[in-house]
Symmetry: D2
Subunit: 343 residues, 4 copies
């Protein structure tokens, strides 16, 4: 078993990490860190546990440590990070200097040319950037990022359609409140309402998707040359991001071609990877957040409503934003790092 | 005062008609009709009143009549119809044969070449089709339709941008549950959820918007030659449709040009017309359904989030779906019919 | 394996039966019935599957039968019924005449003196009424009822406190929408709202709880002599009934006495019985519907907020209304019937 | 016109004060205060306006001042306070020393023997405590409190029933999220959920109601000698507290007696007082938060579901928690202070 740590273990994503790592076949939770206020407390008292399965007994009594390389036991080989991005920008380099491999969900550095932004089923080869990264940064460790939750939801579907030459994407999102963290969206803001704006989210979708779909050659990523335009909305849903995607292609695939390409998207041979990667629904009413967010144990991508448009194809896509879109994404990247010998 | 009637007065839209017509400066409710089951009952007992203002006393004790020309008093000159479309398809012609002017919210006949589909601020001149209509159909009466709620929300904004040559529109909607009628969406379907499909809605938006923006010449409407592609979603919101619109133009307007054109869209000189027609918000968080659906007493169009995209402009638009999008739309058309001498 | 059937298999409770019976250690689904309209269809096409786990493959292609003893295979020994109560009143006797054992969730006959109303952990001895029932009614079969979902939530906690002599109970409920069935509560009724009335529910709680807590002697149930007063409300929650209970006792137990009695309530030795029966929370914020309804796999009873009042004790209680409160309750009764040799 | 000020004008209750005072017949907003951070800013920029009517133009450009007697113009005669109670405990005395009359919604000092806790329709005579207050405290000003929102909802109904000798009250509340302030309840806490606990709320209801219903004699309040037991819950509703009340009386009133007493509860002769004070619904489904919270322009009390119980009477009561239950309550007390010559 690889000993792993969770940086920022008490927040909403941190709690998901714990839920998903309990009973993991290869990873064992060796350390939990949080801000200095909580250091020294038991996890039970430091975290306001909000997940709908009970807090694992094995974790409840662990002592929370400072988020500091000194506080992490030596036998820990892999760190998952769900720190706020401004904190991560300072703290992650300290762990990288100290030689740790970090699989991070935080948004800092995602667009850096020497930081692999990875979805294992989409662009595992981008991991090869790590040699370049160590070279440039002088780190003994290695830093891998997973994309933003709204990006992860859409990109596996787009990746399955790369063969048709994606030229233009318009996407509108209906995002769950958990994406903003435990107190990110107040109830007064969202009950009987929707918010037509999520700060920075549209840019993340537009840039990250092009990097993810880019080609790795010569220690650089050549971003996909396509227009991606996003409009992001928050709706009164707990978990599960639903997205309406309109794609225009260089070629002219039929609805059937698109459906086949999606349904046959390849899964990864990793413990947390869903199989199939993409579940295609024929009922146009599906996927729905509450009914379908747990497809593939929360790691699957659900697609439906595939239709021809005047200029291409439209479809809907759904994924669980705090599993596939956050904690599960980092864990999957951790599994890829392990499989490729980076631990 | 013109005596008006409401066909299908007990449903959700029927109740809005009553709320909006109480205290109307020119119209007086002369008759309320419903299905045969309710005929003879007082309105109070026939309708399960669900509007958040009390049932008007002047209406509560009116006797509900059958939806039949025989049951309508002779002094009624204008009928508002919010019948289910299959019922309307049979019943509206009976009233038209009998010489009534009908301003209808029902979806039947909206795309017929001799039936004006009208938003008074957008295409009042389409009313001239009525001469052709009477000619062709042999009706003494006249039938005017207003578009579907999701269409009405978007089209006033598009109309204000016609000068920039609209070529392509992608729109994703976040629609309130009231658009489906009182029992259209069950609570089990929608709490903590969203539905990515509303039967027939996408086609309505795609066709009705092109007819509304079309040119009237020679007793025909020349539909706008543009691609309109819609993706329609239901979310857990009571009232107010929010829509994300992406537009590509033949010309290359700046964000400022678009904003000016929207903010200066002309209002109509009719009692229920809002002034301004379009309220433009600079805060990207707005408009929001709960906060902004009552702009212009529920008859206004709210726009925000105007941004440049790689291929054009994107913005968000909001309107109250059962006021501007249904009962208020029919009343406004009734006011236009009165102003143009059709009563 | 005992072959079991589900009468009324396509509704919301019917779907829960299927979810809970898949992988049941002792019961195998032998037949699914529905109204005549659906008879002959595959279950997949007859039911609008709404549960958040996929429809079991083993069931999806079963042919739905008429709800008629003739249509049920001979090897089926136990029937679960979730028919509307007016239908059940006609149809259940046909199955009982035909010799079937019926464990029913329908509300008809619940207060009949010769029909056991049973929660296995509370009053298993009431099952002895069945001899009397067969005698009086001339049935070859046997009919057992489980109580209403709001009653089941509260009664296990009250049963654990019987030793303190319950004299008076006031209870206010916050009930989930699924209790009313798939289309029982429309979204327009409940979003940003609460309904202070559920037809017939208060009477059910007041009567059923006294019968359940009654003593069986001489082939009759002597109902508990206590005042039970209920006020029932519907709130915008999908699953899980939360109830505020105020109890006055003949004796004067301390909060600690009450907590001990609740925490040590005995579980039943049946496959679906949760252990512990009652989970007591010390955090006054718990139990909460979304976080705690799945305690004991949806079969547990969660209690919290135990406090002294001027006249007794108050506490909050929560259970999953369509698992412990409906389908799971009938299955548990089926398990009790099997254990006691009634199959 | 009396010049009034609002202490803590940028919060949720502060915004309601502004909405309700705009167009007030006797009061004119002379000053708005907030924390030092916002002092000097325009109100428009200092407040995140969240009310569903637009921010009044007359207020939007006012400069926000420090919450300090020095910063308040001399012509201001009455201050409304909606400060957090810990801030109010320090700051209100400074204004009282400086001679201001303060009508406060903050919870500090509500139970002090020389501070009148007033609902004008219930206990206006308690205002006479002010002479005693000035005497004891040495203030030139005068401090009046209104009760907590959940208390105000219930007490007008109880006051109407005083004649029947109230002995015991059990009440369970279903409270809206706005009662906790703008960010008091996160969306992740409350969507598809309910919270069975609101810190300190039960005690407030139990104590404040007995003080409000107490008798004023000899410069003291003799609290009502009755048991009041409350259980408080938060539900996913924006505005409007619904409460289930069970009352036991010394006398034995019929349901008709109770209904008459409620329906004929006297209104106050003050500008913001609703008439009738209590609206009694005969439909047991009413009152409902979304449909009925605006009864009496948000200042009315709605009652329904009156029924006999084994030991007394039960009913449901509803009021708008941020209008009648907070800002409107303070304004009504301000009107009473004006009418009684305290300004």
């Amino acid at each position: 078993m690889t000993q792993v740590g969770i940086l920022g273990a008490t927040g909403a994503v941190g709690q998901r990490f714990i839920q998903l790592l309990t009973d993991h076949p290869d990873f064992d939770i060796g350390v939990l860190t949080a801000s200095a206020d909580s250091a020294g407390d038991s996890y039970r008292s430091a975290a306001k546990w909000q997940v709908d399965t009970p807090i694992p007994e094995s974790v409840a009594d662990q002592t929370v440590r400072r988020t500091d390389p000194e506080a992490v036991p030596d036998d820990v080989d892999l760190l998952f990070s769900s720190l706020p991005s401004d904190v991560a920008a300072t703290v992650e380099p300290e762990f990288l200097d100290a030689g740790y491999v970090v699989s991070s969900n935080s948004s800092n550095e995602r667009q850096a040319p020497d930081v692999p932004l990875v979805i294992p089923e989409v662009n595992p080869e981008h991991l090869d950037l790590l040699a370049e990264q160590q070279d440039r940064r002088g780190w003994d460790g290695a830093l891998v990022k997973n994309p933003n939750c709204s990006t992860i939801t859409m990109v596996p579907a787009l990746a399955a359609l790369r063969e048709f030459e994606i030229e233009r994407v318009h996407v509108a999102t209906l995002q769950a409140v958990s994406g903003a963290g435990y107190s990110g969206v107040s109830s007064m803001e969202i009950i009987d309402n929707a918010l037509p704006h999520i700060g920075g989210e549209e840019g993340k979708m537009e840039h990250e998707s092009r990097k993810l779909l880019g080609e790795y050659t010569d220690a650089t990523i050549d971003w996909l040359d396509a227009d991606v335009t996003a409009s992001c909305n928050r709706i009164p849903t707990i978990d599960g991001h639903l997205e309406n995607v309109f794609v225009e292609f260089g070629s002219d695939p039929s609805v059937g071609d698109v459906e086949s390409a999606l349904a046959s998207a390849e899964s990864a041979a990793l413990p947390s990877a869903p199989d199939p990667l993409i579940t295609v629904f024929s009922d146009p009413d599906r996927p729905q957040p509450r009914l379908d967010r747990m497809v593939g144990d929360g790691m699957g991508i659900a697609v439906g409503g595939i239709q021809e448009t005047a200029t291409g194809v439209q479809f809907n896509v759904l994924a669980h934003n705090t599993i596939r879109g956050a904690a599960g994404a980092s864990i999957l990247n951790g599994e890829l790092l392990a499989a490729r010998g980076w631990l």
